[in-house]
């Protein structure tokens, strides 16, 4: 039997629908013999064209719909489909196993290609469906690495609490609420009901990844992912317009106070998840000014920082995605709950 290749958007949808329905017969047509889970990654694209950011192995092959591509030419062929039809936020759909997917997508592609970044989802974005009809939150993941300290001195905190229709330990609710006020949200599990039954269950992560645990309709899933992507893209356009028309700084508020000496030690070396390499140009006991680069894309940044806030100025055409990235990574690493403001108004919300 000849394996069916993904050549059209419709082929991709058919394959994903077969995944949702555990349709072994149809999956086998596409050469899939396991039950993969669909994952999507929101990617911030700050490059002119797809050719500027080639895959580490294989190539992108065009599908019949404008801006859609499938990976080709390596052992993972047809397992990644990219929707690059939007200007700034792309959506990458993956049917690879999670470890391989995160390695291929995160480590080998996004992290190594200048012009690509994750979409760093804020607390407000992760909680986007709160209070909306048919939507229910099914749990939270909170993370605080305390990463400025050496491992044995760090006051780490992390919790991941999923629940089903019943909350067997109601007391956990108040505990989680208290932790939520202090620490960064790393992930949120959402489900959607259609009629009486659950039609969609997924876990959204702060780095713009979503893993689909259960779904009934591929078109519904693509729409939900697109909804978040558009929300993020609009926030990026708004922030870019502020960068271009104003001279003000993005303000990042921290819930946990940070140790400025430890921060200095990390950023002077250019190490750590923050990927900031900075030189201090002004120093007071509770306030520092830095100038340097965001080594993620080597754009310039000016960062004024105090124990409980940072003021970020992005000169020239520097990527404004630095603001949510620093807020998210700094939040999970050492600053707890964070917010990004401009003129007192929350951005990326």
């Amino acid at each position: 039997m000849t394996m069916k290749r993904i050549r059209t958007l419709s082929d991709f949808k058919e394959k994903v629908q077969a995944v949702f329905e555990n349709d072994d017969e149809r999956l086998e047509l596409y050469g899939v013999t396991t039950h993969p889970q669909l994952k999507a990654y929101l990617i911030e694209a700050n490059c002119r064209k797809l050719d500027d950011v080639p895959l580490p192995t294989g190539t992108w092959k065009t599908l019949d719909s404008g801006g859609w591509y499938v990976n080709d030419g390596d052992s993972m062929q047809d397992m990644l489909v990219l929707d690059a039809s939007s200007e700034r936020v792309w959506k990458l759909y993956s049917l690879l196993e999670i470890a391989e997917s995160d390695t291929v997508v995160i480590d080998n592609w996004i992290r190594t290609r200048k012009g690509l970044d994750h979409c760093w989802l804020s607390r407000e974005q992760l909680l986007h469906w709160e209070g909306k009809a048919q939507w229910e939150q099914r749990g939270l993941g909170l993370r605080f690495e305390d990463g400025l300290y050496p491992d044995d001195e760090a006051g780490k905190f992390s919790v991941k609490a999923w629940h089903g229709a019943n909350r067997y330990i109601p007391e956990l609710g108040s505990l989680l609420e208290a932790a939520k006020k202090s620490f960064a949200i790393h992930s949120v599990r959402w489900q959607k009901r259609n009629g009486g039954s659950v039609s969609f269950v997924a876990e959204w992560y702060s780095n713009g990844k979503v893993t689909v645990n259960r779904a009934e309709d591929v078109d519904q899933v693509l729409s939900i992912v697109t909804e978040m992507a558009l929300r993020y893209e609009n926030a990026l356009f708004h922030a870019t317009s502020l960068r271009d028309t104003k001279w003000g700084a993005f303000e990042i508020g921290f819930n946990q106070k940070i140790d400025l000496d430890l921060f200095d030690d990390v950023v002077t070396k250019g190490k750590g998840d923050m990927k900031l390499w900075l030189v201090e140009v002004e120093n007071e006991p509770d306030f520092r000014r830095y100038k340097g680069v965001d080594t993620h894309n080597w754009d310039r940044i000016l960062l004024d920082i105090a124990p409980d806030f940072a003021l970020l100025t992005i000169p020239q055409s520097g990527c404004v995605n630095a603001a949510p990235r620093i807020a998210t990574i700094q939040g999970e690493d050492n600053a707890g709950k964070t917010t990004v403001l401009f003129d007192g108004v929350e951005l990326f919300a």
Partner: protein, 285 residues
Amino acid sequence: MPKLPSRIILWRNTVQLFHRYNALNFVGPFLDAGYRDYRVEPYMEDNEGDEKSPDILSVDATRKRWVELELTMFSESKHTKLDAYSRINPAFLGNYGYQGFTAKADVLSSRLSYLDDGPHCQILVDPVLKVLKEEHLDDELLRKKLISVQGIDMRRLPEIPITLHPESKSSEIRRGLVDQVLQLFDPNSKGKTPEDFVREGLERLYSKVGPKKRNLLAENVKKELDDLVKTYLPDNLRIVDGTYTVVENYKQHHKTTESIAKSVKKWVDAKRLSIPLEEFHDKTE
């Protein structure tokens, strides 16, 4: 650490009066009064057709009010220039999308230290905000907002995107180049010429600065960078055909990046700690 009279600080502290920072408990009085939109050196004309480009022009589109600010460290009065600004025809605001303005603008000067600029409101913006001759403002709301934040500490207001000014002196040039110097270590960097540094440092002011001033600034930038390469980073940077770039065998490592950051800091501090007296006296406009 001695602090320099700096055009960048003058611009930074004046521009931030149009912004708000919750963490600093700071609400810029212009923003608070409704001046939400501002432009730097817009092209305007007076009734005689003479070009006038105030350093900052801002409008309150709701109340149909507008202000013009002259930012200066000039050692003589700006009285005449400010008088001329007050004669700018509001009809030219239409070129920027603002219709229906008939009132004349409120004109202010912003300085780091006092020098009489005639019958106009004056603000001093470092280290705290001082408001002088506020009775010359027609906009009563702006007057109230300015007075209400008089005395507020301006020292921690955030940096602005321009890191060089056409009249930047050596100490300010070094500080203004730090982030661009680190960019040279980008594995994909092809290096930068002094002209590149000037273009990036002047940022949105670049197109408003004439070629003569830009070339002079590029010469001064070159002097400072030459000292950086020769004295502070001889093992990491080199100059090839006028382009500053990393040495061929450069390899990125945490120990190297830390050492580079420390050397760059030393290069900046060297000028900050030995300020020639003439840098305190600015005779340029």
